[in-house]
């Protein structure tokens, strides 16, 4: 799979789906429209400071709250190439895999990466390199079954290929 390479935008614990995409915008399901409100209630400067390809890093329980798939859709549509977190809330985790948003659980990488660091990721090996600090980390590999969904770039393609 393609590597990710970009600057890091880092957040703390319990980033919930209401701040990732507030419900007042859920009268739309258009990815490009959702993307224009991504992270709005947590970080109003997010869209102006992020560049396509950038990497989001967060601490515990990222994506907690609602089942809205609009949350990973908004993050993917605004151009974030990967989310690294200590842990993900379980529905967000499923949703990200199902829609093809790359995510990695790696507490050590989260501890060793600061806001603004330049990071590259090799999805096949799970190696996360912090280019700014000259360090590297290995993310948790996905179970084989999930890797098949990821390789198919989402659940719809996976089901169609069966």
């Amino acid at each position: 799979m393609e590597n990710a390479h970009g600057k890091v935008i880092k957040y703390g614990d319990n980033v919930d789906t209401d701040v990732i995409i507030p419900a007042r915008y859920l009268n739309s399901s258009d990815p490009s429209e959702l993307a224009t409100h991504c992270m709005e209630d947590l970080d109003k400067d997010f869209l102006s400071k992020m560049k396509p390809g950038d990497i989001m890093v967060a601490e515990k329980n990222f994506g907690c709250g609602s089942s809205r798939e609009h949350a990973p859709i908004a993050i993917k549509a605004c151009g974030i190439s990967c989310v690294i977190a200590e842990t993900f809330a379980r529905i967000f985790y499923r949703n990200a895999i199902n829609i093809g948003l790359p995510i990695i659980e790696c507490p050590k990488a989260v501890a060793g990466i600061d806001n603004g660091d330049e990071v590259s990721i090799d999805f096949d090996s799970g190696i996360i390199k912090n280019i700014t600090k000259g360090t590297s980390f290995k993310g948790q590999p996905f179970p084989e079954f999930m890797q098949k969904i990821i390789d198919a770039e989402g659940l719809v393609n996976y089901i169609n290929s069966k």
């Binding site: 859920l26 009268n27 329980n61 907690c64 798939e69 719809v156 169609n160």
Partner: protein, 421 residues
């Protein structure tokens, strides 16, 4: 090795004799649920699948409830998409305005969720049906689409935390106080990826509505599901609401749990969760000392919009008036609850107290409509989340509480102990 109640239900639906925590399985689904926000995305995804319609028109429930009756043109388009899909696929359990209710109040009432079922819903509070002894869990829209198309879903078999509820709770302590206390104790990721299995002699003192409230908020502790043993009260509820036969599973005596947590219900106090996480809990006693002035009170939602909730709120509000400037919004969970509340005179009590009573909707809980908060406003709400901006402006504050505390606070104009109003 013994299995938990959840693991037994999953094993049976995967056609396996036994399963263990961490195992990936594919399970047959008894029900797939979606609402007006999540279903349009699922319908769009299903269109991309090479399938010929839905797996079973009787095993899909479509409940437009979040922004319904349509709050604006875009919401109306979403609802139209769901309505047309339901018509095209001849979906038996599509609930139009007039028949609908808040999904998690509605489906058990309609008898669509019974003990032993495996249920997925594209709504995080789908875990509610653990109250009737079902395995039910929230998923996203793509999982919903796959479920509607194939009747199957993949799961990682969860490990479990066993909560032993002991003794009888005091007068004003409800299911809401119990689950808020638990979330305060273990944190919003305290049960991440896990089952929350509730057991113990204290369960006999909990009404079905209490149990729905507790199972409903398992997700606020990060749980995959919350589940109750099936007792006589539960079987009575199911037989009164459903023609389907429940299948009763019990945890093995040697089931393995990650943790066993005992909760003495007799020692609990009414509990309030402060902004901006459900784990920020305080007892009502500490909360009253904080002297928190309130602008709005919401009583309703999939967490606390059932008859018990409305009855207890009305018992406190009867013959009283809400504080000057207070906005009290009461939302019965379903049309049946609305009718029952009307017949019992509860609606009159709310209106005479100075409250408004709305048609069933999720509206204000997620900041959709019907009670949005302005800058710096504070709300006591019987809903389930108090995240930043959840009910409106990002500086507004939500205090989660039981219907009793909410009703008392509406009268006092500040967070109040129901014992003292």
């Amino acid at each position: 090795m013994g299995m938990t109640m959840t693991q037994k239900i999953l094993a049976a639906h995967a056609g396996l004799k036994s399963v263990e925590a961490g195992q990936l399985i594919e399970a047959k689904l008894d029900l797939v649920l979606g609402n007006d926000i999540t279903s349009p995305v699922a319908i769009h995804e299903m269109d991309k699948m090479k399938v010929d319609g839905v797996f079973d028109k009787d095993k899909i429930a479509l409940v437009p409830d979040h922004f319904v009756p349509n709050k604006d043109i875009k919401s109306a388009e979403h609802c139209k998409c769901v309505r047309e899909f339901a018509k095209k696929n001849d979906i038996t359990n599509y609930f139009e305005v007039g028949q609908m209710g808040i999904e998690h109040a509605l489906l058990p009432e309609k008898g669509l969720t019974v003990a032993g079922d495996v249920i997925i819903g594209a709504d995080s509070h789908t875990c509610t049906y653990g109250a009737v002894g079902a395995f039910s869990t929230g998923v996203g829209s793509t999982d919903m689409a796959a479920g509607m198309a194939t009747g199957m879903a993949w799961f990682k078999v969860p490990s479990a935390i066993k909560f032993v509820l002991k003794n009888k709770p005091a007068k004003w302590v409800s299911g809401k106080d119990i689950i808020l206390h638990i979330i305060g104790k273990i944190g919003v990721d305290g049960a991440l990826y896990k089952s929350m299995e509730f057991t113990g002699d204290g369960i006999q003192y909990l009404t079905m509505d209490d149990r729905f409230t507790i199972a409903n908020m398992a997700i606020e502790a990060g749980g995959k599901n919350g589940i109750f043993p099936v007792d006589d009260l539960c079987l009575k509820y199911i037989s009164e609401h459903s023609n389907r036969k429940p299948v009763v599973y019990e945890a093995d005596a040697d089931a393995v749990y990650d943790e066993v947590i005992e909760i003495d219900l007799a020692t609990l106090r009414p509990t309030v969760a402060y902004p901006h996480l459900p784990e920020n809990t305080k007892t009502i006693d500490d909360s009253v000392k904080d002297d928190i002035k309130i602008d709005q009170v919401v009583i309703g939602s999939c967490t606390n919009g059932r008859m018990d909730d409305l009855r207890i709120a009305a018992s406190i509000l009867k013959g009283k008036k809400v504080a000057a400037g207070m906005r009290l919004i009461v939302i019965p969970g379903t049309q049946q609850i609305y009718l029952d509340a009307m017949e019992e005179g509860l609606i009159r009590t709310f209106v005479e107290a100075g409250g408004v009573v709305s048609t069933p909707t999720c509206g204000p809980c997620l900041g959709g409509y019907m009670g949005i908060l302005a800058e710096n406003e504070r709300c006591v709400s019987t809903t389930n989340r108090n995240f930043v901006g959840r009910m409106g402006h990002i500086s507004s504050e939500i205090y989660l509480a039981s219907p009793a505390v909410a009703a008392a606070s509406a009268i006092a104009g500040r967070i109040a102990d129901p014992e003292t109003v």
